[in-house]
């Protein structure tokens, strides 16, 4: 059991570090399409690592099933939301700083 606890702790801490890196990237990157990159990538990996660390600590089968369901939904909805956000930004006229609105 001590190995499972250790693995769970490693997963939880790694997920926290990945999430912190993504949050700093979202706060400090210069324009919108750069900010999409840390948010879109680290959301998926942070959620996967934290939820996998919690799954290792779960005692009952129903808890594992609920955590897997949450992971399943997050893995489908977060990239979809990022894609919808990027498409809406492109169609709404959000351009890069050096790009003088000339994407045809």
């Amino acid at each position: 059991m001590i190995i499972v606890d250790l693995l769970s702790g490693i997963c939880l801490i790694a997920g926290s570090i990945v999430g912190l890196i993504g949050a700093v990237g979202v706060l400090r990157f210069p324009d919108f399409f750069s900010r999409l990159h840390p948010a879109g990538i680290t959301d998926t990996l942070c959620a996967s690592l934290v939820l996998f660390g919690l799954i290792l600590q779960a005692a009952e089968f129903t808890v594992v099933a609920k955590l897997l369901l949450i992971l399943f939904f997050l893995l489908f909805t977060t990239p979809s939301a990022t894609l919808a956000l990027a498409k809406t930004a492109v169609q709404g006229g959000c351009t890069l700083p050096n790009d003088k609105g000339a994407h045809d």
């Binding site: 606890d5 939880l12 912190l20 959301d43 934290v50 660390g53 949450i70 919808a84 809406t88």
Partner: protein, 103 residues
Amino acid sequence: MTQVCLTATALAILIVMALALTRAVLGPSVYDRALAVNMFGTKTVLLISVIDFLGGRQEFLDISLAYALINFISVIAMLKFYRYADLHRTDETSASNEEATPT
């Protein structure tokens, strides 16, 4: 050791939520705010799951599951409202009215 790891994870997720909220307040465009709010919602789901294991209450996972779905629906609805200024619009009507009402 497990409790220490869980507490550290909860604190890290709270810091992430604070940084995302800062971006949502600062964000120059509405897309930056939508991005930050989406990130905030995802981290809320993780925080509720971690609090469930910290307190040993099984009911919090159901709340977390519902919140994951509500977050996705709200982000898509907000983006659709910003794109079309109308939540009732479908793809067929938008294709025919695309030149008539530029957004």
